[in-house]
Symmetry: C2
Subunit: 246 residues, 2 copies
């Protein structure tokens, strides 16, 4: 059976307190939601709904932020936001700040984003995107009676490769990884590949129908059979001690 | 319109000289191939068809390979293969060898794989997967008259994240990256995201319908609108000078 990836268009500009599930269920696609669907929400819509929007005029950069900003030709207020959201700096070069966020994600600029929001504002990542995903999943269950999975997706760069791809920053109702450890291939040999980050692949798949300038903050993935054991962002974060690049 | 991802089952064990396109077109899914489809082939099926299969008993490890093998509890013949396929070692720790292959890919074990092949053998990556993809695309054109895109996909790990995902190692008939540089968002602000590696996302999407122990070496992606400008693996490889992790 073929997998389907269906874009959901929502033209309303999301503000704190909006009921994303009501907005979803008002759409034609949302009305057709099915048991076992996977819903992928962009980070941006979640951050906006949760009020993770910062008025840049209210930020007072420390001397450190001013210093880094001056060395890297970056707005010191953005640098301050990055530092606030960061556990440790991993690399700082060529005007790029790669850090480990308070959530444990390793990415550029701590996920802070000034696009798709009005001038003078920036969005931060959701505080706890697993919890955001769980809330949305429960809301769908209570409004429709249907059990679905929810993933929160964001667009990240990667070492060694050009171009960004979408990966998961929050997971609910689906196991993050398929573990093949000890499984055997068609020749009865132990598989080299031991674990597939399916939620990252689902996010990448959903990005294909979304684009970046369209108002398509949700995608529905249908006909994908998955393990309903509850996953988490934590499953996807490699411990610093096991990482060869930190 | 929703995106469709359709698995193609081929049960025949591929040997050098097999006509992959004939095998594809014999399947029910292959018979339904449409203009503008994207075909994603696994690295493994290409390597087998191109004879990139190594009889391990014929490898004579150098002293260096024997030394690394002994320090890392690795088969010295596999280490020798890795060294032969490698331009430079990037990291060597915890029994893992991350190297830059002769193609410029950064990955574990230079893409050498002992799974899904009979005991005593290993597969190497295709010599030039762009050329492999182009050959398949032309063969489809000549057999069916249809213009499609072809991508060769492999499963790679990533720094910072647990779990592997599929990415592109060869591209033909599709632009590898969508470049948003200078494009504006819904608020008329310049987008933070500048380039999306859509061929990597297409590979990840295709992995979802393939699994690892099924005989599903091809996936067809339908209803994805793309730029037909010919892409290449090179578009996806970050230059060492720009990479913060080499």
């Amino acid at each position: 059976m073929s997998l389907q990836i269906i874009p959901v268009h929502i033209s309303k500009e999301i503000v704190p307190g909006d009921d994303l599930i009501e907005l979803l269920l008002e759409t034609r696609t949302g009305k057709g939601l099915k048991e076992g669907d996977i819903l992928v929400f962009t980070q941006k819509i979640i951050s906006k709904q949760e009020g993770r929007k910062i008025d840049m005029s209210k930020i007072k950069p420390t001397l450190l932020a001013a210093g880094i900003g001056s060395a890297y030709a970056k707005d010191p207020r953005i640098v301050q936001l990055i530092l606030d959201e960061t556990k440790r700096i991993i690399r700082m070069k060529n005007g790029i700040i790669i850090s480990e966020t308070n959530h444990g994600l390793v990415c550029a600029n701590a996920g802070i984003d000034e696009s798709n929001i009005e001038a003078g504002y920036a969005t931060l990542l959701p505080k706890n995107a697993d919890a955001s995903a769980q809330k949305l999943r429960r809301r769908i269950k209570s409004k429709t009676g249907k059990t679905v999975a929810v993933i929160i997706s964001d667009t990240f760069g990667r070492p060694f490769r050009e171009g960004q791809t979408d990966i998961a920053i929050g997971v609910s109702g689906i196991s993050s990884i398929i573990d093949y450890a000890g499984k055997r291939d068609n020749f009865n040999r132990i598989l080299r590949v031991t674990a597939i980050a399916i939620v990252d692949e689902l996010c990448s798949a959903s990005e294909l129908v979304r684009g970046k300038t369209l108002r398509t903050p949700i995608a529905i993935i249908r006909n994908y059979k998955f393990d309903k054991k509850n996953g988490s962002l934590k499953d996807l974060l490699r411990a610093k001690s096991l990482d060869l690049f930190r």
